[in-house]
């Protein structure tokens, strides 16, 4: 018993256990999602996060300890974003032919993302500090936290709101677009990436390669545009 305990203490202190847990959680989540036929509600990212969280809560593991192992997976996010340049260039003709609708949708979407969340938040009686933290919620976490800091929100709260937004968009995009009878996968993907950044982009890539491509464009461009207009809109709205 004592030996088993010291083995456990040893394992929890090495990155091996938490890295393995993350990979196993993903394989299970991916399998479940495949078995469910890629149903939008059975989102593999969401399932993976829930599985990992359950293990962390049950074993009373602090997140910082978990992240020492999981950081190796997290690190690959950077190269994966860089890698989206490859499908972008392979499909450059498709992208170039939609450049005008793309820019128009970017501007409209970016403004609607900010204005709608502030108005709705005020309607539901959220305090000012939360409204400010909500402003960059459609932008990828790293950039969103920077924007929150600049306009007077709370970066760590923004990280939570960004993740909730990403999940909402990734789960809702397919049923919503089907309901609206939109068959243009470039447009569908672009709206998923704009509203819900990396998680929306992961969903888009799993549905259709063109959708994924436009989602990655939307994510990158919205990060850029929001960091320019968020301070202006926040000062005007809040």
């Amino acid at each position: 018993m004592n030996d088993a305990f010291s083995l456990w203490v040893y394992l929890t202190s090495t990155p091996l256990l938490w890295l393995t847990l993350t990979l196993c959680a993903w394989l299970v989540a991916d399998r479940v999602s495949t078995l469910a036929g890629g149903h939008p509600l059975v989102n593999p990212v969401l399932i993976g996060i829930i599985l990992v969280s359950i293990v962390l809560v049950v074993t009373d593991t602090p997140f910082e300890l978990y992240f020492e192992g999981a950081q190796f997976v997290h690190f690959l996010l950077g190269p994966a974003i860089v890698a989206t340049a490859v499908p972008l260039i392979i499909n450059r003709a498709v992208v170039w032919s939609s450049i005008v609708p793309l820019v128009a949708a970017l501007i409209v979407g970016s403004v609607v993302a900010i204005v709608s969340v502030v108005w709705l938040g005020r309607l539901f009686g959220l305090p000012e500090e939360m409204l400010l933290s909500l402003v960059p919620k459609s932008v990828t976490a790293g950039v969103a936290m920077g924007i929150a800091e600049e306009i007077g929100g709370t970066p760590s709260l923004t990280a939570v709101l960004v993740m909730l937004t990403g999940m909402s968009g990734a789960v809702m995009v397919t049923p919503l677009m089907n309901l609206l009878r939109i068959k243009d996968y470039a447009a569908r993907g672009f709206s998923a990436g704009l509203a819900s950044h990396g998680i929306g982009m992961a969903r888009a890539f799993s549905v259709d390669p063109t959708a994924g491509l436009f989602a990655s464009l939307a994510m990158g461009l919205n990060a850029l545009l929001t960091s320019i207009i968020a301070p202006i809109l926040a000062a005007w709205l809040i």
């Binding site: 950081q71 997976v73 939609s98 609708p101 950039v143 993740m163 982009m201």
Partner: protein, 152 residues
């Protein structure tokens, strides 16, 4: 990389880009390392550029732009980018994007207390705002495309 290219600036640039070209079996592992090195170099350059210029863009997104520019030059001479190891590895990496988001996601579950009892109001706000954002974006995209007469 033994293909002959004329001596010009773009040829030098192309030669300098370590894109894995040959997919022969014993070179596959090496090609994978080449891809990873190229991606990391782009990310690194992007990070340095963004930090020193004080731009509000994440380093990887700047790295994406840099790699796109390099590849645009590259495809002028070798149009078969889709056949390279780089394309295969990139597709694989993008395919596991969901996995890469799990650690951050688990961290957020840890921080749900920050919602300070406003949980329901926040969730409703975010859900409705996400719907409005997606609807506005998708209709703008499709309307402008139709106005321009571009077929999907």
């Amino acid at each position: 990389m033994s293909y002959s290219i004329r001596r010009s600036f773009s040829a030098e640039v192309i030669r300098a880009i370590p894109i894995p070209v040959s997919p022969s079996r014993h070179q596959k592992a090496f090609a994978l390392l080449q891809t990873l090195t190229l991606l990391l170099l782009c990310q690194f350059a992007g990070e340095v550029f963004v930090r020193s210029a004080g731009l509000p863009v994440p380093g990887p997104v700047a790295g994406l732009a840099l790699l796109a520019v390099l590849l645009l030059v590259w495809v002028q001479r070798k149009p078969d980018l889709a056949e390279t190891g780089l394309a295969r590895h990139s597709t694989a990496l993008i395919g596991i994007l969901g996995l890469l988001l799990i650690p951050t996601g688990a961290g957020v579950v840890n921080q749900l207390g920050l919602l300070q009892g406003h949980g329901l109001a926040i969730v409703v706000t975010i859900l409705v705002s996400a719907v409005l954002t997606m609807v506005a974006t998708v209709f703008t995209f499709i309307l402008v495309k139709r106005l321009m007469g571009v077929r999907s």
